[in-house]
Subunit: 115 residues, 2 copies
């Protein structure tokens, strides 16, 4: 099955996880289609200055694949600059946040896989 | 943990799954780090004319997220043109192949999640 980004639900979330500004989430695959083995497969877009606030994952891990832009990834206690092509891995029990510190949109793919 | 594309193993596979030319696989995450819930998280690069041959998945499903370029995705029996931003979902029991029919590299993220 081929899913076009233009055909799926786009959700706009204000102050996501207590972060700044607005996050645009393009939900590419539902958890049902992924047999409940993963619960998120979405493209995220943060405008300059926007962020997803700090939060913890339990019983699941999350992968970000940075598509474009640049920012800072708060990686379970330390700040790491990130750019296109980087992967941010947050294991179960770990916390993360991400902020667009550049002057263009920060886009990334977010995948949450259940343990 | 942040993984840089430039720091990980790049594998070049000739005639992958019986396909044409060479496929460059950048292995971003190992199955061990993904708790054996997923067995592939890689960026794939096919030069013009290259392809991954037709093959079937069983006991797992695969997701392609097209990053750049264009091509044809053989979707369990039918050919579908694909471009950046599209998602190709191949469920357990289904077959797929992908070919770069454009004149630039076709790049996509490949994720295999186990059932």
């Amino acid at each position: 099955m081929v899913i076009r980004s233009s055909d799926v639900k786009v959700e706009k979330v204000l102050s996501m996880r207590g972060g700044k500004g607005e996050v645009e989430m393009t939900h590419l695959l539902s958890k049902e289609i992924m047999h409940n083995k993963a619960r998120l497969f979405a493209k995220m877009k943060l405008s300059p200055g926007s962020s997803v606030g700090l939060h913890k994952h339990e019983g699941e891990f999350e992968i970000y694949y940075i598509l474009s832009g640049e920012g800072v990834f708060h990686d379970n206690g330390k700040d790491v600059p990130i750019k296109a092509g980087d992967v941010c891995f947050t294991d179960s029990g770990e916390s993360h946040s991400i902020e667009n510190t550049g002057d263009t949109d920060l886009e990334f793919l977010a995948v949450i896989i259940l343990l």
